[in-house]
Subunit: 359 residues, 2 copies
Amino acid sequence: MPPHKPKSKRVTLLDVARKAGFSPSTVSIVLSEAPLSRYVAAQTKERIRKTAAALGYRPDVFARSLRSRRSNTVGVLVFDISDPFCVFILQGIEKTLHGTPYLPILMDAHNDQKRFAGYLDLLMERRVEGLIVVANWLFDEGELLSTVKAEKIPSVVVGRDTSEKELGSVIVDNEAGGYEVMKHLYELGHRRIAVIRGPDSLRDSQRRWAGMQRFAQESGLELDPRKVRTLPEVLDPTSGFQGGLQATEDLLRTRLKFTALAAFDDLTALGAMRALSAAGRSVPQDCSMVGFDDVPMAGFCTPGLTTIRQPMEEMGGTATKRMLDALAASETEVSPDLQLLPPTLVLRDSTAPVRGKDA
Amino acid sequence: MPPHKPKSKRVTLLDVARKAGFSPSTVSIVLSEAPLSRYVAAQTKERIRKTAAALGYRPDVFARSLRSRRSNTVGVLVFDISDPFCVFILQGIEKTLHGTPYLPILMDAHNDQKRFAGYLDLLMERRVEGLIVVANWLFDEGELLSTVKAEKIPSVVVGRDTSEKELGSVIVDNEAGGYEVMKHLYELGHRRIAVIRGPDSLRDSQRRWAGMQRFAQESGLELDPRKVRTLPEVLDPTSGFQGGLQATEDLLRTRLKFTALAAFDDLTALGAMRALSAAGRSVPQDCSMVGFDDVPMAGFCTPGLTTIRQPMEEMGGTATKRMLDALAASETEVSPDLQLLPPTLVLRDSTAPVRGKDA
DNA sequence: TTGTATGCGTTATCAC
DNA sequence: GTGATAACGCATACAA
């Protein structure tokens, strides 16, 4: 009969030490693989590890954190987890963190400033060692990110250009994406192209538009200002769809001819497609459509939406790596650079060569 | 000039005690609102709270947890966060937990059993006091949920019927949903209805089908077995779409006539719509379509998808409440009942009355 | 290369 | 009503 195991009492370092016949410190050094463990005899290590395993020893994270002053956690603060855009970023973060000693603590601000501030506070209380903020375009961050900066831990923002706030950030190269949109439509023969821009205040929106204009200039394409619409400033998560729908209805009412439509993002494009459909215009036969983001929906609607893909998982991973690097170097912050990742054109069925009579 | 604040040193309970002129115990009792605080003079409380605030005291969660043996956290283990179905469940959980002393620790298993097991372990190591598992239909849980049960903490599963494993669970009433689907189509005049069932092994699939059959029996509707397809058993997250697409192509090849199609879920319906579109059949004019779940995509595709809504946020909230109740009662587990929440029919544009000649 | 002693900040058990 | 004191489990400086 095996030695009677004390009923449900936790196995501590001391138990292991006694059983293995070494002192608690040696056991601690070995099991936590501290630098000093380099000097411990291989036999000793072996023995300690064996008995620890045999006893089913599990270190107490709280005692460990209390003593070592390290939480082994990082905060992940997302503006709105229901934004499909965020999910892959989160996966990139998770995958990059997996295998490191850091556990992500994820909080969802639900597009609410107060909640964001509250959770940031909570994360600091939990002593996270680093912070990743996952932004989306609807969220009016106000001064919140300054608060983030004020906390003296390595922080990085993904999904929004925060270089002006002296915070490191990782985003897609919106300018290049805008350029690609126009290039693609141009190469399909489109010359009368309508555009639905994002809200004016949005950096992303400005950059994408800049890219479109750059291509237009380089190629001699003319973008008729009367065929350019701008989404209103809003905070409602589904506003992109509604905005795209209304902007397109508006465009249709002008009776100006356009054979293609470049939407601010995928949701806007889906709204636009709804409006076109209601007007009896089919995509891509009567009008080609290009989105931006490549959210899952883009692949599942019919016709499949041609779009500019943001490398979301990679963005999450890159941001995480930057934070981990800062952590490894014991720095107090991530370098406040803006990092641009290249977008990719994803071809689906919503774009087609312009038809003969319009060419 | 205010007293010099010791450079960046943490304010501890002791500091507050000294400053306020009371003992650490009293301060602790007051600030953590322990039962004993009932007996502390109101004045004393006031004074202690004031000085704590003035000093900017924040309790050390690790010391607190170490001593009190409580982590104030609950684990949330999700099979696959990229499943749009999960997100609202998570929001329900988050909202219900907000305001309680419990912090959710969210882990995403990425549809991977090993990762699930690893994260479960990790959560236990972090001493979560309760556990919420968010399941989805693709995940082959194997014996994992038995492992969950083995941990002696209140656990509840949302999104999968686990009553047979003696684990509490919360799901939608699939049978009622299936019934509603058929009822809706029947009331629109449809009599030739094709069905794409979910994978056979899936409980959800069986229940939805049972509901459909019940309505058929009650109403005298005949469901032609030749127009019933079953999705293959798969683990790929996008398989629903592909499955729906192929099943529909298959149905079309038979040349059997159907004026409506009931899909296993929304993604299946979207795949089916793609296939119908490719065959030149339009929805809902040539064929009505009903999905199941009401994921965001259902509202954004064109035509908008009529579907059965799972009250996902409520499911998450209900599961959380059950866990909190068990926690409050210091129970070691959630009652192993299956709880069914009612689905709702959401009318959009993918269903229409059957056309004259088919009526 | 290993052991000893101490304290991290808090709460619980008493005693007053 | 309030205070003294002893843990909680671990990691580290220092001694050996």
